[in-house]
Symmetry: C2
């Protein structure tokens, strides 16, 4: 399972493990798709033994856009190898898969950061390979975190402890009388304080070696373990991943950040909700301006401590930069948690 395409590795794959699935004889109803980009196989192929930022110096310091582009590149090489001139995938297929890969790989990088951080927090010291500077915050098992890659269709409110969900439910019940609502959806990823009952579990301190299918399932299913167990102030960071930007595609995170701030800060007394957006291709400067928008709830309340809805639009140059930045964030933000 090489990061760099290998004809030998490809040859050894069972057809069900290949990156390209030929569905010309088993078409999906109402679609003309001939070949599918098997996203999970692609991740296992290219990142089966590699988590960027926790791999070789070459990969850790490689342009992150190129790293994220590699699975599609490898898949296209495979498809061309097996199907020659017949091979074709729609640009929308590549777009969909590239977007998911950016999200899943970045989540894996942050998962490993969290594992390393947690290991420091329980007093195991600071792992040295690959080298990142040691955080300065004084270690405490209560300052461990969980990185949750949230699934499609998720509702971040379901992470909260029942009492907090109840507060939100009552608020909504009041709105419903007037035919109103305040539906919540989700960021792509949430970093939360690891609940007390998990603070001795080793799994939260184990760095994964690659995105094999079992590891994919571990990461994508992790959120289920924490549903109903997070205090409002323990949602430490929310992230939206967008491989590239368009001016019309900026608003789901901006709106959701506003709603989270209204509910968590306004109704549940949580500290500032940190919501950021990651991209590899901002395409101009307009997005940075859009994301200077003040959080509407704070504005309306006329509070003194008004802040942006989106804390930052971040363009990771390399996986190592992403990791460094996340460590720095944890070092600062986790000070809020009593050690």
């Amino acid at each position: 399972m090489p990061f760099t395409y290998s004809i030998e590795a490809t040859r050894n794959l069972a057809t069900t493990e290949r990156c390209i699935q030929d569905i010309r004889n088993a078409p999906v109803r109402n679609r003309s798709t001939q070949f599918q980009l098997a996203q999970q196989n692609m991740l296992a192929y290219t990142f089966g033994e590699v988590i960027p930022g926790f791999a070789s110096a070459g990969i850790n310091g490689m342009n992150y856009r190129d790293v994220i582009g590699r699975p599609v590149e490898n898949a296209v090489t495979e498809g061309t190898h097996f199907f020659r001139d017949d091979f074709r995938v729609d640009s929308n297929a590549k777009a969909k898969v590239a977007g998911d890969i950016f999200e899943i790989v970045s989540s894996a990088v942050m998962w490993n950061c969290a594992a390393r951080w947690n290991s420091l927090m329980v007093g195991e010291g600071w792992r040295s390979q690959p080298r990142y500077s040691r955080p300065t915050l004084s270690p405490s098992p209560r300052r461990q975190v969980a990185v949750l890659n949230l699934p499609r269709s998720f509702d971040w409110v379901s992470l909260l402890v029942p009492e907090s969900q109840e507060v939100i439910e009552e608020f909504r019940a009041g709105l419903r009388k007037d035919g109103l609502g305040l539906p919540t959806s989700t960021p792509d990823l949430a970093v939360v304080v690891l609940p007390e009952e998990f603070q001795n579990d080793e799994m939260w301190r184990e760095e994964i070696a690659g995105l094999t299918r079992p590891n994919q399932i571990l990461l994508s299913g992790a959120y289920q373990r924490l549903q109903g167990r997070v205090q409002p102030g323990e949602i430490s960071l929310a992230v939206a991943f967008k491989r590239s930007l368009r001016s019309d595609r900026l608003y789901q995170p901006l709106y959701e950040a506003n709603v989270m701030q209204l509910l968590l800060e306004g109704k549940l007394g949580a500290p500032k909700v940190e919501f950021e957006v990651h991209t590899l291709a901002p395409e101009g400067t307009n997005a940075f301006v859009t994301y200077e928008a003040a959080s509407l709830y704070g504005l309306a309340e006329g509070r003194s401590a008004v802040h942006r809805a989106i804390r930052e639009l971040y363009v990771p140059p390399t996986a190592a930069d992403l990791a460094r930045r996340f460590f720095a964030f944890l070092n600062e933000r986790m000070e809020l948690v009593n050690g």
Copy 2:
């Protein structure tokens, strides 16, 4: 310029007027586009003598999705005629053009509605062809409206009179001190009260006969005439057009409606801002739920008159339905304007 593809009509077009432009020998830098869907030519071809809702009964009552799909259909027919197997356009090209056509044609329907409405308002009586039921509001020249199809990159604040822009600017100046902002963008269309200085102009009462290029320019440039001349309470309706929906593509209108409500209702004392979304393919019911969201500004203020940010997600069955609904809206909303 037929609504139904005509080989004769196509044959008579100069190559610059054709719906398909062959750019294989003049490629756009960094693009692989071979044939362009000349959107403005397509509108002139299919709708050059037709404004749905103001045309024959067959077109007025035709499934609006099919009406809106016709320009691309005709263009593909033309392209296949001239270029046979060489002809290909990316689905993203069709997507872009179909979206713009939905916006421009719907704006034209509403433009003609406004013309008919205005004619009634200045005492010229109610035009009878095609037949729509006569509004009941007592006519007044001050109750005329302008339908503005707003361009890309627009800022709706620029419509407002200088005093109101000044209020917003001061509010923003306060935010800027904290590194914050509250940028505004735009709905696709705004219906505003026709300013006094235009209330005798005939152009606002003239129904257009079709989307010839000059008429396209008239409609798309109309907003320039009203910039700086609209009172905050005179933005009667804002519309976002989305030919089809996806759950991630709902939020620009939702967010912008919230910002408009904060600024117009909250800072400028305007009555309820009516912002709606039109689509031809909602794809499930989720969007209807998302758009039940209460306006965040009203919520935070704890005002009594909280309302939805988006008043309605509307799926026009036919152009005639769209026209009828707009007349009904005007009949109700324009009562707010002193006659």
